[in-house]
């Protein structure tokens, strides 16, 4: 079986079921708007300090929306007990994992398409290609890690508790580099190109590591 076709088929299956139920994306988009609202009340935002506060609100909202999105990735499979069935097929577990990761990151990107315009609408920060690029590049690596640990905790007690505890510390490299990139894209000091190349390095590192580890997490 061609692993790329398997991954593509799994991703299409997940996206189609999301399209038919429309569960995750609308809920997450609302969640993100709420997070922006809380950011507005939690900080005293005005036009002078918006550029220094908005990146923080962006990453906080994105990180927690990501946790929910990746936590849902394997929830549907668990409820239907269909993950075991998928793993019994001759398709390679890594390809199945890749398909699910691609689908989950596309869902998160759909939420980002709501979040980034809303952020610049509410806080008046620039909505530029630089910001979008930084967030998208960070999403790749964060999705790989998030799905790996989501697959892991899907079969563990207290999974809602464990997923953030395991994922957040390993996401911190992305938040360091991504935070710097977004800050400099919004006009704060710091080198944008340096942060982006660091993000790409982290992407490559974690994509390689997760593809090596996925076999052990899914195989049973």
């Amino acid at each position: 079986m061609n692993p790329f076709r398997v991954a593509l088929a799994v991703a299409r299956k997940d996206l189609r079921s999301e399209w038919r139920t429309r569960e995750v994306v609308p809920a997450l988009a609302q969640f993100i708007i709420l997070a922006l609202l809380i950011g507005n009340f939690g900080f005293q935002v005005d036009s002078r300090n918006a550029a220094s506060i908005a990146p923080g609100i962006l990453w906080l909202a994105l990180v927690f929306a990501g946790l929910v999105a990746f936590g849902r990735t394997f929830a549907a499979e668990r409820e239907q007990a269909s993950l075991e069935a998928m793993l019994m097929t001759p398709a390679s577990p890594v390809a199945i994992f890749a398909g699910k990761a691609v689908a989950a990151s596309l869902l998160l990107i759909a939420c980002e398409a709501v979040m980034l315009p809303a952020l610049s609408l509410f806080f008046g920060t620039p909505f530029s290609a630089d910001v979008v690029a930084a967030v998208l590049i960070a999403t790749v690596g964060m999705a790989a890690l998030g799905c790996l640990f989501a697959a892991m905790v899907a079969r563990v007690r207290a999974r809602e508790l464990l997923l953030p505890l395991l994922t957040l510390p390993l996401w911190i490299p992305f938040i360091i580099a991504g935070g710097q990139a977004v800050q400099s894209a919004m006009g704060l000091p710091g080198s944008y190109s340096e942060a982006i190349s660091l993000l790409i390095d982290f992407d490559i590192l974690f994509l390689v590591l997760t593809s090596l580890a996925a076999r052990f997490v899914l195989d049973e």
Partner: protein
């Protein structure tokens, strides 16, 4: 350990600028190095476990994580006490402090996985993956002082920045701390072996066959 303690207080000269507080240095750096060593044990144990499912490798990884978290805690607490007198605050958001805190959180998470996953093969395998990913942070902590400009001082040992008496005291303390960590891992390993024997978690496929599928909700 006692001799090391005596050497720290009586043999090593008092720092000219910082006064007696500087004596924290010996144990602070030693326990950081011991913690790195413990996490290396977790990494190696995890890799070996994933390769051949050896329960002994997993027990070593388990013991290493526990002892490593203890030594990281010692490092953090001692560093905070030192920072309060020298920098004037318990905590500054500096690259090395932050990355050490992240390291502590990662391995505390490792211990939680061990507690929450089904004991036996599942816990061992998941924990091995966490241990391997977590070890990425160790080089980050080590090089953070060189990569970013930080408030935390850079390496003084390999740069020959210490007077010989301090160096001798430090090396002796470090040797003692590493041996202490190794002894603690060995003791913990014995405990884990006894626990495994009692619980029989690594007993063969029986466990797997007997496991019922999760009920459909």
């Amino acid at each position: 350990m006692l001799i090391a303690g005596a050497a720290i207080f009586f043999y090593a000269p008092t720092d000219y600028l910082q006064g007696p507080v500087q004596r924290i240095f010996y144990l602070h750096v030693s326990s950081a190095i011991a913690a790195f060593g413990c996490f290396a044990v977790v990494l190696v144990g995890g890799v070996i476990y994933l390769r051949n499912e050896s329960p002994a490798a997993d027990r070593f990884a388990r013991s290493g994580a526990l002892v490593g978290v203890v030594f990281t805690t010692v490092t953090l607490v001692m560093g905070m006490l030192w920072a309060k007198t020298v920098w004037g605050a318990f905590w500054v958001w500096d690259a090395r402090l932050t990355s050490t805190l992240v390291l502590w959180i990662i391995y505390a998470g490792y211990l939680l996985v061990r507690r929450l996953a089904d004991p036996g093969r599942q816990a061992a395998r998941f924990a091995a993956v966490v241990g391997i990913f977590g070890f990425i942070d160790v080089p980050v902590v080590h090089f953070s002082v060189t990569w970013w400009t930080t408030q935390h001082p850079g390496p003084v040992i390999i740069n020959d920045a210490l007077p010989p008496q301090m160096l001798a005291t430090f090396l002796f303390t470090m040797a003692c701390t590493v041996v202490l960590a190794a002894v603690m891992i060995a003791i913990r390993y014995r405990i884990e072996t006894l626990v495994d024997e009692r619980e029989q978690v690594f007993e063969p496929a029986k466990v797997l066959v007997a496991r019922e599928p999760e009920p459909v909700q």
